[in-house]
Subunit: 716 residues, 2 copies
């Protein structure tokens, strides 16, 4: 924290009951933190004003100053572009005659056409946040602004600067130099420092932040609003407090989640002998996955089910199991959780719904669960969840009939109950990739997205993380963690509730309040988390992350038997931020050798004529190989032509190319005969090459992968 | 055309060699056409300037005026916000001392925070175009501008006004009234009128067009650039000129394309007895479709093929066929086309590639084709095309083995050779809808997109039109036609080449130059053509247009077994411009009766609990029925849960609902077991209900359909 050199100024303003600092004092506090401010001075009468103006150099702006003077522009208390002492004195005379005007602020007229805006707000979720955007009177209407959570690193601030839609404004502009972005970065970082140093400052608005002709940014108008500090993590998650997640983590003892995913023994409370009942299916799932640990079904009726002895109570178990799966109705859950505590169990998954997501009664029951969990130090997943999956340990608490889950390298964290149900079923039946850990957070009364992310970060079985979240339980903690994790593992996130309509549905679905989307967006950029927007991409990105390495960059090549497809896909690539670079002369020669001269070969590659001349397989194989050899290309997308008449290629050549060039992802799509396509896809995917039903999808997924790479390699 | 009241002013300025009108004269010509301009007057000395200022009322702006005075702001020749005679005189004194300043322009300071920009340019493709956008110094950097082709109807102009991204600026703003959009519309229409009346005016720039506090727009700065007229359709398409399309159409004789799609007899020049050769496959395709007309294979070798007598020459045919399919190499095409002419044939499809799309030699051969076609009045499709299809007449000229093509109600026009090849094969094997007419325009030396659209407009077999274009052969003609056609039939268009990358590929692919995308976008809005961006949507939109009616509006309901999916899809709906309205109380009661109380039913509908309580089929059926009965809902999207364990619903109930509510489209997507989904999809689609592999796609397609409806019902 910087020294609070302007503390007197802030405190005396507060003492006077001011809601904000005067324009002059606002400038002082900004200058103290190194924010360049336009030259200015106070004057008390026309003569001294004109002397000040002559000192600053014409032209100048003259503003009335005084505690009671608001909306200066509207009442004519601002005159711009004065260029002589006579003009200044005439204007000063009139300004001083305005009621409430007791001094004059003489300001340099900053020349330059570009106006930005920056500032600081204290967000209810993320605490102090710095803002940067396109300024002037249209600021709010344009809405071209980005946020970052303070304190900002230089890299955070640089990411914000490049994050505005109108980043074209940063380059040379109407004869003026490119913006000094390093200076912009220092300003944004400084705003964050002010926020951290002065909890008394509630908001800062610098509008406009003008850009001089030489590219230097300078604060022209600044407003520093005073008010109560709003803490960084103001809404404590249920997992916080003594015995909660936050306390555990700060104790440095790790997440302690291992027994959840790697239990040596498990009790299933609410086990049922009736097939189709969740209390039965959960045990079938455990058995189908070949779980080698000890399973203890618990049901007051006792007896036997699925070859296992049923215990009449937890107390009757021969040992204290690592994990309890609680699958009884909501109202019975607190009692069962207490029995778990009494037995000494430290980890539990509560599957039932009917808690805070439903009504006040449910919220009350949920509060009981929180109390019991904390008092007894139990780590709880759920309630209101479809359970979790841990393929490295052949284990699951899912109650939806899934059978054996394919092991893989990607892990999923989802703030929804359906992930381990029909979405996982879809993945298992429609796709060919597997998963490592999967957890449905449900109402997340204890284990939350941050704790899960921390666990997965150090989980050797997890190579990448795909998340679905509707809100953040501990927003700042998530940012802190994610910004570290994303440097070692890709983290892809679908954060829903970005629209008014979406928020509406979010309230219906969970007890959570969605965050202001623009702040979330900024936080995720800082965190290096790659944001996605489609549910389908949760699955397709997971597949690609499972089957390929990340590309080195965003430079792709495409091959298709249709110029039209290539034109449309080139447009899409451009929208997605992917490049279709020129390739080496030698690559062009190799391509041209494949093709009759009436197609001029380039990137993207119209492969049609080459397939006629060389056959489909040779055309694609040699075309792809030329591109894979080219140093300008990071990934290759063939749109394979598959019909009997044009000749069916083998799948071998693509599998071989994928093995030969492991650092350059090959993502495959198709055109032609759907029946042949389906067979070919199945074959390729089971051999580890990712394929996509729509021709746009390989590009959409490559855009995600290349952002993961960029996040991983971003400056500290 | 309006009277040219300012002709003297324009002509004398031109005579003086001025590149543009003076600011004062520019204001005069705008005022003549009813564009409100800020009050202003010229003055020659400080005293008269201050008198004028007093007359206008303070504050005023003072500007130097003079033929040699450029970049007024930069040289200090603009002073703003002068509020007293003393200030005006002091400023005037200084301005007059600037070299080249021989007069003073005194202007009212228009109060108001909103700045727009409007103007007129003459586009190389579309001729005079009016522009409207967000103004001020950032205009170009923001790029928030829309175009319309002049002359503009009021509805065109209104569409432009609502077309800017920052349309929020049109509402009440910082205490100022909503913009008087009717006045904005009059201004844009007036700019178009100036363009039509004064070919001497090359460009108009009104920047800023300020909005007064009461919402009235007023031109503050205006620049009228003089220069040569650039004609509206400056690059004549090859089909233009005597004997070309334009001449035929202007003769009012209709498109004359009927024999192309409904030939009673056809010659196939270049017929081959070798299976797999295009000259063989085209005849197989004709036969597979059950063509009832007379087919004459032509090949110098004579003989017989596929049961048909082969003629050694066109001259030897027993009659003059309605249509010639020419399937010989490029260099032989001119000779064959001349033989067609000699035989009296009036319609031809030229399939070969190797023309202007390849090199200069090809372009020369293509020019010969144009000459022969024109001299002999032959209507030509192609060259460089995969042919065409006409299912109502069981006919095709496609040479790619397609077999029988399913008849349907949607017609495709594609500026690419591949549409009747592997894309059509994909449609035939992956989808279950059929087509009416399909044509690959290829190089379009004669029959072009406008002529096709005109034919399809009056074609009873065509209910909707889906197009893929990379450029427009006759841009203004297309606009004229499309704006009529879209009122009676939906027209959906994928216009590629929108990005730099796309244009690059477009040049490689066709001989056409892509249009400036923003102008194209404005033209399509005026035309009522619904623009799409994905190749996949060419197919999915065609399917939906085939299988459902258009929804009445954009108000949808969704039902899914997952709140998470609903939240994500609600976000998507919002991005797509679809509404998820509140529904009637009675509808909510019906929904709630289906579900346990722990889910609060609303739109969108979380149907999970209802399926547990009632079964999957009853849950969805009654939920969908409640929404279909609701007057606030225009279309329904069920995300059907399909797994053995949750119970497989019949397809009957959806087919029945679709029949019972024909005016409310039902677009179906799925979650659960992919194998069950594939079976169910096949079953539903063959029974006429459209289904989609990804859960996002029904919304994407409904957005297209509801735009089609809006285009159809847009004001004249």
């Amino acid at each position: 924290m910087k020294e609070r050199g302007s503390l007197d100024l802030v405190q005396s303003s507060l003492a006077r009951g001011q809601a904000s600092l005067s324009e002059h004092d606002s400038a002082r506090i900004l200058e103290e933190f190194g924010v360049p401010v336009g030259r200015h001075a106070l004057a008390s009468d026309p003569e001294s004003a004109s002397a000040v103006a002559a000192g600053l150099g014409f032209p100048v702006a003259l503003k009335g100053s005084g505690a009671g003077l608001a909306h200066k522009s509207d009442i004519g208390a601002v005159v711009l572009g004065l260029r002589s002492t006579a003009e200044v004195e005439a204007a000063a005379e009139r300004l001083l005659s305005i009621e409430g005007c007791d001094a004059l602020l003489v300001q340099e007229m900053v020349a330059g056409d570009r106006e930005f805006v920056c500032g600081m707000v204290r967000d209810h979720q993320f605490g102090p946040c710095v803002m940067f955007g396109v300024g002037g009177t249209l600021t709010e209407a344009l809405g071209d602004a980005v946020f970052g959570v303070a304190p900002l690193s230089d890299a955070d601030a640089a990411g914000m600067v490049q994050g505005i839609r109108s980043r074209k404004l940063l380059g040379p502009f109407r004869g003026q130099a490119a913006v000094d972005t390093a200076a912009l970065v220092r300003i944004l970082v400084a705003l964050g420092e002010i926020a951290m140093s002065y909890p008394e400052v509630a908001q800062i608005d610098v509008n406009p932040l003008k850009i001089r002709g030489d590219g230097a940014p300078v604060a022209v108008d600044a407003l520093v609003v005073l008010g109560q500090d709003r803490p960084g993590e103001p809404t404590p998650a249920l997992g916080d407090g003594p015995g909660g997640v936050a306390a555990r983590l700060s104790a440095g003892s790790g997440t302690g989640l291992a027994p959840l995913f790697e239990p040596a023994s498990v009790a299933v409370i609410g086990a049922s002998s009736v097939a189709g009942k969740p209390g039965n299916e959960v045990i079938r799932n455990i058995q189908a996955n070949g779980y080698p640990g000890r399973v203890y079904p618990v049901n007051p009726r006792g007896g036997e089910l699925l070859g296992l002895t049923v215990y009449e109570s937890l107390a009757a178990l021969p040992e204290t199991p690592d994990l309890a799966i609680i699958i009884v109705p909501a109202e019975h859950c607190p009692g069962v959780l207490q029995e778990c505590a009494d037995k000494g169990i430290k980890h539990a998954v509560i599957l039932a719904g009917g808690f805070a997501e439903v009504d006040e009664t449910g919220a009350g029951v949920q509060a009981q669960l929180v109390r019991i969990a904390r008092e007894n130090g139990i780590q709880v997943v759920g309630p209101n969840t479809g359970g979790h999956i841990s393929t490295p340990n052949s284990f699951t608490s899912a109650f939806f009939p899934l059978g054996r889950v394919r092991p893989g390298r990607v892990s999923y964290v989802a703030q929804t109950g359906n992930f381990c149900t029909h979405t996982m079923r879809y993945i298992l039946t429609a796709e060919h990739f597997g998963v490592a850990r999967v957890v449905g957070l449900g109402n997340a009364i204890d284990v939350d997205e941050s704790e899960m992310l921390e666990y997965l970060a150090s989980d050797d079985a997890t190579e990448s993380v795909v998340m679905y979240l509707e809100s953040f339980k501990r927003p700042r903690r998530f940012l802190e963690l994610a910004r570290e994790v994303t440097r070692i593992k890709p983290v892809v996130l679908l954060k829903s509730g970005s629209s008014e309509a979406g928020r509406h549905a979010a309230v219906a679905h969970t007890a959570a309040l969605a965050a202001e989307d623009r702040v979330v967006d900024g936080m995720l950029r800082q965190a290096g988390v790659v944001r996605i927007w489609d549910y389908t991409h949760l699955i397709l990105a997971g597949k690609a992350l499972s089957m390929t390495r990340l590309p080195r960059g965003n430079r792709i090549s495409m091959l298709a038997p249709s110029g039209a497809m290539l034109v449309v896909l080139s447009d899409l690539a451009s929208r997605l931020g992917l490049e279709l670079p020129e390739v080496e002369e030698s690559t062009l020669r190799r391509l041209q050798e494949l093709s009759p001269p009436y197609i001029r070969m380039r990137n993207p590659v119209d492969i049609w004529a080459a397939t006629l001349a060389r056959g489909v397989e040779a055309g694609y194989r040699e075309g792809m190989r030329a591109m894979l050899d080219d140093p300008n290309i990071d990934a290759v997308v063939p749109i394979l032509l598959l019909t009997e008449e044009t000749g069916m290629p083998s799948t071998d050549f693509i599998v071989e190319l994928a093995q030969e060039y492991p650092d350059k992802p090959i993502l495959v799509a198709f055109t032609g005969d759907k029946r042949r396509i389906d067979e070919y896809r199945e074959d390729l995917e089971t051999r580890g090459v990712s394929t996509f039903p729509e021709i746009e999808q390989p590009l959409e997924v490559l855009a995600i992968l290349s952002k993961c790479r960029r996040a991983m390699e971003r400056p500290l």
